[in-house]
Structure formats: structure tokens, C-alpha cells
């Protein structure tokens, strides 16, 4: 039988959690106590509703108003047409085989592929789309005090026009794995990459290219980056020009500082967007 004192303490800690005032020790205590009592640490049911009801009650009488400038940005950024949520298609990231058969057989220093071909492959690769409106919420400032991880998560959560698709390594870089995430409305995106060899910036640097056939056959420079440690790396996509519904993201290995136009001598990996 559970000790009533433990139950009281658990609920106190759960309220503390909902208030956001748990100390580190209390957070650990909450997890341990919940485990001991066989219930979940995060409170559900009546406690969150009580707090929410209180919030609503208090703020109907007294509240700090949402600044007009923010209100306008929020309203202006929402898509002109919403789809009923229950019939929205879900995105699928399954890729079909590329134009050259098994991509892992392509040598990194193999035959060059035209940028148009990358775009065509990317277009063919996707199965379903999940566009909820490209203009949603406009451009929002990226928080300087957030880590890349947090920014990726924030983008994943709040950008309804986000596109997420896997990155695949080519040839000798077949160990590359990860994803790209991109939002047109924010012109913001990240690569989440693992398995990419550490480079010596004095010798070679990785460069990202964004294939946007609606803009130009030539890809847009997505920025030069280095891999300084093995494991997962999060690389911000630094699109030098405005891009719209990019078809693919391609990583090449270039001379230090990158190049204006890649000769694609070493193509490291590619991620193609759903269409």
C-alpha cells in the first residue's frame, strides 16, 4: 500500500513541475518517487486543468496585452487557407531508388551529374507532400541563446511548412546519415549529420548546395562548413539567396573557403525533398 505521505509529496512535486519551480533535486525526486509509486512523473488529469483554469481566470481579469506588432505578425503569417486537420495527408520520407541505381554504389569521384539531374531525381524521389501553406508565420528571429538542437526542435515544432527528409552518403561517404530540415517561410534550416569524416579546414571544406530549379538551374550556395568531431553534427543551412521549395540539398567537398560554382569532383551526399 502506498504511503499517503509519499502521495502528498508526489502531488506537491507535480504542482511544482507545472509551476516550473522545481529545483534540480526536486526534479530527480519527482522521477524517483513516481517510479516508486508506479505512476508517471508528468502530471495529467486534474492538476494541469486546475492550473490552466486558474490561468484563464486570472488573465481574463488582468493580463499583459499581446503587443500589437506581434499580434500583426502572427495574424499576417498564418496561411490564407487552412485544411481541415482530419483530412491532412501525412508526410512520408520514403525515397525511391535514384537515377543511378543503388546510390551507395556511386563513387564520390565518379561521373558528374548535372544540377538539373539532381533536381529531377529529387523530384522523382518523393512520394507524398505535406505542404500546409508556405507563408505561415513569416520570418521569425532565431534566438541567439538557443542551441542548434533547440532551434531545430523549435523549427520542427512550429514551422508548418517544414520539410524534413533524410540525407544519404554517396560512394566513400556512404557512412553519412542524417536529415535536413528546411522551412521556406523562415528561410531557415539545418542539417543533422553523422558519419561524415572530420575535415582539415586548411585542406578541404564541405559545401552545401541547394537545388531550386524554380529559381535557376545553378544551385544556390548553402554555406561552407567543417566537421570537427565525429558523431552527430548540426549544421545551419546558410542560403545565400532566397530559395523556394528546394528539390535537393547536395554536399560537396571543396577547396578551403568554398567555391562559387562546384565542379562536383567530390559529391559527398544528397537529401531530396518530398514533392
Amino acid at each position: 500500500m502506498n504511503n499517503p505521505n509519499n502521495l502528498d509529496r508526489l502531488e506537491e512535486l507535480q504542482v511544482g513541475f507545472l509551476l516550473g519551480d522545481l529545483s534540480a533535486d526536486e526534479e530527480i525526486e519527482l522521477v524517483q518517487l513516481a517510479s516508486k509509486l508506479g505512476c508517471q512523473a508528468y502530471p495529467d488529469g486534474s492538476l494541469p486543468l486546475t492550473l490552466a483554469g486558474l490561468d484563464a481566470s486570472v488573465h481574463s481579469a488582468q493580463s499583459e496585452d499581446l503587443p500589437e506588432s506581434i499580434r500583426e505578425r502572427l495574424a499576417a503569417g498564418f496561411p490564407s487557407q487552412l485544411s481541415p486537420l482530419h483530412i491532412l495527408p501525412r508526410a512520408e520520407n520514403n525515397l525511391i531508388e535514384g537515377p543511378f541505381g543503388n546510390q551507395s554504389n556511386i563513387r564520390a569521384d565518379g561521373p558528374r551529374i548535372s544540377w538539373a539531374q539532381w533536381g529531377a531525381w529529387a523530384a522523382a524521389a518523393a512520394i507524398l507532400c505535406f505542404w500546409l501553406g508556405s507563408e505561415f508565420l513569416g520570418k521569425y528571429s532565431v534566438q541567439n541563446n538557443l542551441s542548434f538542437e533547440d532551434r531545430v526542435e523549435m523549427l520542427e515544432r512550429s514551422a508548418v511548412d517544414k520539410v524534413v527528409a533524410p540525407m544519404e552518403g554517396l560512394g566513400t561517404y556512404s557512412s553519412l546519415a542524417g536529415n535536413f530540415i528546411w522551412s521556406d517561410s523562415r528561410q531557415e534550416g539545418y542539417l543533422q549529420l553523422s558519419g561524415l569524416p572530420v575535415n582539415d579546414p586548411a585542406q578541404k571544406q564541405y559545401q552545401l548546395w541547394i537545388v531550386d530549379p524554380s529559381r535557376d538551374e545553378a544551385p544556390v550556395d548553402g554555406g561552407v562548413f567543417d566537421i570537427r568531431s565525429p558523431g552527430m553534427n548540426i549544421i545551419p543551412i546558410d542560403a545565400k539567396l532566397q530559395v523556394s521549395r528546394p528539390k535537393a540539398f547536395v554536399i560537396t567537398l571543396e577547396q578551403p573557403g568554398g567555391v562559387v560554382k562546384s565542379r562536383q569532383e567530390i559529391v559527398v551526399g544528397i537529401g531530396s525533398a518530398p514533392i
Binding site: 502506498n2 499517503p4 502521495l7 508526489l10 502531488e11 506537491e12 507535480q14 504542482v15 511544482g16 509551476l19 516550473g20 519551480d21 534540480a24 526534479e27 530527480i28 522521477v31 508506479g38 505512476c39 508517471q40 508528468y42 502530471p43 495529467d44 488529469g45 486534474s46 494541469p48 486543468l49 486546475t50 492550473l51 490552466a52 483554469g53 486558474l54 490561468d55 484563464a56 481566470s57 486570472v58 481574463s60 488582468q62 493580463s63 496585452d65 499581446l66 503587443p67 506581434i70 499580434r71 502572427l74 495574424a75 498564418f78 496561411p79 487552412l82 486537420l85 482530419h86 521569425y140 528571429s141 534566438q143 541563446n145 538557443l146 533547440d150 526542435e153 515544432r157 512550429s158 508548418v160
Partner: protein, 211 residues
């Protein structure tokens, strides 16, 4: 049971949708409903968010997340359980706490699981309340709470004072302030349950109610 009569927004007939609330219309894809949502609940969301974040631009990003989640969750809104504003506040508080915890994340800590457990878990009770949690019900329940506790809750939630500020203002030890506010909120919850606004829960954490 009351809950069995409640349908999610997507199942409502057209005539009902035309007279439905903001969240129901939002779930059915009405563009104007989002504008109304921002007009109606923007201050509430902003107020909750700002209690957790003093940084304006960070708060703006969180509000953006909250609105997106309200949109995503609008079809789960059940008017038998809570008023629209309570539903909105539920999401606003949760997302704010999630964001706060991310900012405070300490690598050495064993973290709590992320709170992306579905909102339905705390929103759709196993047993239904007699009436939804709304402003009036909260006001009545607050009236049943002792003066000192009510004052502490008001200073904390309504006035937005930190525990430290309340401690200094009332010359009360910090730990006592913290404990009394937490217990006061549990008392408020108990009052809401007694008045039939909140369903009694089963399970270990509700043992206090059952003994």
C-alpha cells in the same frame, strides 16, 4: 455518460460547425478562426508565456509554437471538460514549461521525459465532470480557500511575483512560500473536484482523494 455525447470537431455536422466555437472552427479549417483565436486568446497566451520568459523575442517564438499546437490540437477540444480559454491555457503553460526546461537543461541531470505526451491524456478524463472548468468555477473554488493561501496564489499566479519576491514581501521563508503555494493549488484542485468541475481520478496519485 456526458463524454460519450461529445464528438471531436471533425465529426460535427455542418450546421453545428457554423455556430461552434473558435476551436471547433479552427479544427475545420476556417481561416478566420485563427484570427479570432489570436484576437480572443492572444493576451492570455502572451500573459502565460511572459511569466516564464522575460525575453520578448523568445516569448514571441513560444507564442508561435503555442498557436501552432492549438491549431493541431483543436480537434481534440472537448467542451464538456473545459472552457476554450482553459484549453488554450493548458497548451500555453505546457509549451512554456517545455521551453523553459530546455533552456535550463543540465546534461548531468537525469531528465524528466519530455511532456509531449498527448494532451488528450490530461484533457480527456476517464470519467467526465459535471461541468467544464471555466472562469466562474475557478472563482468560486478560490473563494473556498483560506485567506493566506489565496493571497499566495494570487501573488504568484495573478501578480506574477516570484517565490523569492513573495518571500521578501511577506517575510515568509522561501521554502514555506513554495510549499504553501503548491498545497494551495492542490486545495484548489480538490475544491473543483468537490464541486463537480473536475473528475475524480483513479490511480496512485489520487489516493488522497479516495482514502
Amino acid at each position: 455518460m456526458m463524454q460519450s455525447a461529445v464528438k471531436c470537431a471533425s465529426e460535427l455536422p455542418y450546421e453545428r460547425i457554423m455556430t461552434a466555437g473558435i476551436l471547433t472552427r479552427l479544427a475545420n479549417g476556417e481561416r478566420e478562426a485563427m484570427q479570432e483565436c489570436i484576437d480572443q486568446y492572444g493576451n492570455l497566451i502572451w500573459g502565460i508565456t511572459r511569466r516564464f520568459f522575460s525575453d520578448m523575442s523568445l516569448a514571441e517564438d513560444i507564442v508561435q509554437e503555442i498557436l501552432t499546437e492549438i491549431w493541431n490540437k483543436s480537434r481534440t477540444y472537448n467542451p464538456a471538460v473545459a472552457s476554450e480559454s482553459t484549453f488554450v491555457a493548458l497548451i500555453a503553460r505546457r509549451r512554456s514549461i517545455d521551453a523553459l526546461r530546455k533552456l535550463r537543461r543540465r546534461p548531468s541531470m537525469e531528465p524528466l521525459p519530455e511532456t509531449d505526451v498527448s494532451d488528450e491524456a490530461d484533457y480527456n478524463h476517464e470519467s467526465s465532470p459535471e461541468r467544464p472548468v471555466g472562469v466562474e468555477e475557478i472563482s468560486k473554488a478560490m473563494g473556498q480557500i483560506s485567506g493566506e493561501t489565496r493571497q499566495l496564489i494570487e501573488l504568484s499566479i495573478q501578480e506574477g511575483f516570484t517565490h523569492q519576491e513573495i518571500s521578501e514581501q511577506l517575510k515568509m521563508p522561501l521554502g514555506t512560500v513554495k510549499t504553501k503555494i503548491r498545497r494551495g493549488l492542490l486545495e484548489l484542485r480538490n475544491q473543483l473536484q468537490k464541486s463537480g468541475c473536475l473528475a475524480m481520478e483513479s490511480g496512485p496519485a489520487s489516493g488522497k482523494e479516495m482514502r
